[in-house]
């Protein structure tokens, strides 16, 4: 069928062979769009990462770092949100993982640890660097640390200072207790504003709500794990109080009317635009939002209703980088991570993205915006806890964490019913994933410290 005399056909087949031989699927016709492979005897490191989506400028920083780094040739590849983890796992299972992998906090990388896909970093990186980068407690398992922190995501509650002023509230002392919050909302409502909320259509607001509110009922992060493995129950009022409180906010008419159909980021924009008094946000937005409003956006910790030891503490989630168990060059990979943690690179990170790297070696005097500096002082440079939703099993996240918030906001579920849904899904998770239950049971030990 093929006409051997036709040269064009021969070239076509050669290209096909080239792509299949490449193995990890990173080449193919699309090699136009990635960095060209180097001829050097340098070790080659594949780096699969994420983050340009939430930190524009990160790609430029990576390209610059890769270009400047001479001890190895690093080939970065930006992943899509939906598959940054699943693609790593399937590649690792097939024996062809990247050397360096971007890792969201908690279960998103702990699963890979349990599957044996990640190498412990203690021993590969210096203790100092590793600790300074603050990978958070969720990166620990069996006494080892599996990630280096890269950049933090302080989780803050925004409030609009101008609106506070107009409502007769003190913009410099935002509410810290639940009754104070209700009072502030009432005053905002009387002043004609929509007090609190955002956009929950794409689900993330509901996740963040759990990060702030659910954690208030816990003494340790390990207690959350106990709820999943079945040692404790979501039907216990203590553990679904967060949703009861959300229901309260809705019943009092404090949530914005278009919250169910609006998405997360447009929802945060409402606070910045002066249309919504209080909302959930992420610290990495603060530089831009502060600039746009001349410093009139404030950050606060979520007002306290819960009686757990973790209530009222600032929350810092962390994005990190790890090294594959099957990496051909783990020392070279670790060296690159050390390089990224040098003060010069940390400064370059700040300059390229306008955001802070996580390492405490970063000179925070470089931060120009006062609001950001203050926020970082209160969040990153003070005792903080991490994002508890990061340790949730994927099934629970998809089928409970998000639908509960969405449906309580909309009025479809009461707080108690949300607790029932969470309990049911936790049970289903245990039935579908007995192998993971075992691992979580071991993880509780590291997380209850």
């Amino acid at each position: 069928m093929t006409d051997k005399a036709n040269p064009a056909q021969q070239i076509g087949r050669r290209k096909f062979l080239q792509t299949t031989a490449a193995g990890a699927g990173t080449l193919a016709l699309g090699s136009l769009f990635g960095p060209l492979p180097a001829q050097a005897k340098n070790p080659e490191l594949n780096m699969w990462w994420w983050g340009e989506q939430e930190l524009p400028g990160l790609q430029a920083y990576i390209n610059e770092s890769v270009a400047k780094y001479t001890a190895a040739t690093v080939k970065p590849m930006l992943q899509e949100t939906a598959v940054v983890i699943s693609q790593f796992q399937t590649a690792a299972a097939a024996g062809t993982p990247p050397d360096l992998q971007y890792l969201w906090n908690g279960i998103y990388h702990m699963e890979s640890v349990w599957l044996g896909y990640l190498k412990p970093l203690n021993g590969l990186m210096s203790e100092d660097t590793l600790r300074a980068s603050n990978p958070t407690i969720l990166s620990n398992y069996g006494g080892n640390t599996y990630r280096a922190g890269w950049y933090p995501l302080p989780m803050v509650w925004y409030y609009n200072k101008d609106m506070f002023d107009k409502a007769g509230l003190n913009a410099d002392t935002p509410p810290t207790t639940w009754p104070e919050l209700l009072d502030a909302c009432e005053k905002l409502k009387i002043a004609g504003f929509e007090p609190l909320g955002g956009g929950v259509q794409d689900g993330y607001w509901a996740e963040w709500y759990m990060s702030h509110a659910f954690v208030q009922s816990l003494d340790t992060v390990g207690e959350a794990v106990e709820l999943f493995i079945g040692d404790k129950d979501f039907n216990d009022p203590r553990y679904h109080e967060c949703w009861v409180r959300l229901e309260e906010l809705r019943k009092l008419g404090y949530l914005n009317k278009d919250m169910p159909s609006l998405e997360l980021y447009p929802g945060i924009d409402l606070v910045v635009a002066g249309k919504l008094g209080i909302g959930q946000s992420v610290g990495s937005r603060l530089p831009a939002d502060s600039k746009a409003t001349n410093g009139r956006i404030g950050s606060m910790v979520m007002p306290v209703f819960g009686k757990g030891k973790l209530a009222g503490k600032p929350i810092v989630d962390m994005q990190g980088l790890g090294i594959s168990e099957k990496s051909a060059n783990p020392e070279a990979a670790a060296a690159f991570l050390e390089y990224l943690n040098t003060p010069e690179r940390l400064e370059a990170f700040y300059k390229a993205t306008g955001w802070l790297p996580s390492s405490s070696r970063f000179n925070s005097d470089l931060i120009q915006d006062a609001s950001v500096k203050n926020m970082w002082k209160a969040w990153g440079q003070s005792p903080n806890i991490t994002n508890v939703t990061s340790l949730m099993p994927g099934q629970f996240y998809e089928q409970a964490a998000i639908p509960t918030g969405q449906q309580v906001v909309q009025g479809k579920l009461t707080g108690e019913q949300a607790g029932e849904l969470a309990a049911r899904v936790a049970k289903e998770w245990r039935e579908f994933n007995p192998d993971l239950v075992e691992k979580y049971q071991k993880w509780v030990i590291d997380l209850s410290k």
């Binding site: 299949t20 193919a28 136009l32 899509e80 097939a94 998405e263």
Partner: protein, 271 residues
Amino acid sequence: MSITNPFKQVVLITASIIAMLPSAFMVMTALKSQDEYTFDKVGLTDALVLTHFKAVLFDSPFFLWMLNSAILAIGAVVVGTLVSCCGAYAIARMQFRGRDTIFAISTSLMAVPPVVLIVPLFVVYSQLGLISTFSGAIIIYAGLITPFSVYLLTTFFRTMPQELFDAAFVDGVKHHQILRHIVLPLSIPALVTLLVVNALFVWNDLLIAVIFLQDDGKRTLMAGISVFQGRYNNQIPLSMAGMVVASAPMIILYISFQRYFIRGLMAGAIK
């Protein structure tokens, strides 16, 4: 002229307005500034703002995405059509054991929902390193369009008069020459329909695209739209400008080649 004529016109006009309304909104919004849209979501724009289009055309990956979709469409159509022509020719004009069974099985594959295939294909592709490769995706698309193509071509080839072939065989002409010089030229109408159906199927597909082409650089237009919308969900006019640009190729083709388009889409739905 019957008395109900005005009523009929009213119904048709109403239906036409409803049919065009989303597109009208899309275009109008794309021409508004961000602030103007926040104020006035419904009305016509006061000033034609073209900055969004500039951003989409020059600063966004839309053209890359369209190129990727085109590569897939062309690749899949070429592979699928070649494979189907040969297979259909054999089924339609040759005798061999199992001929009818093979045709029946191939035809019944037309109605398999692609979602049934994604799990095993995803797993094996991960093992073979074919995720986010054009060749991998082209194989899948070509496979998906083959049953329908074989069905259509077989039906068509069967309508050709036997005398045509008898004469050729008497002259000692080989099969592949018959195929190339007699059958295919006569099949141009069917091939054109097939081309339209199959190219549209690949171009419009979302499911295979989001699962098998995850790299930024290989993303197709449809998957890109989902990403674009998510990234700029707080800049509505910009999103709409993106949608206008994304729909431009189809609209242009539709208006120019209406007849083939309609015939092709209908045939495609029959799959």
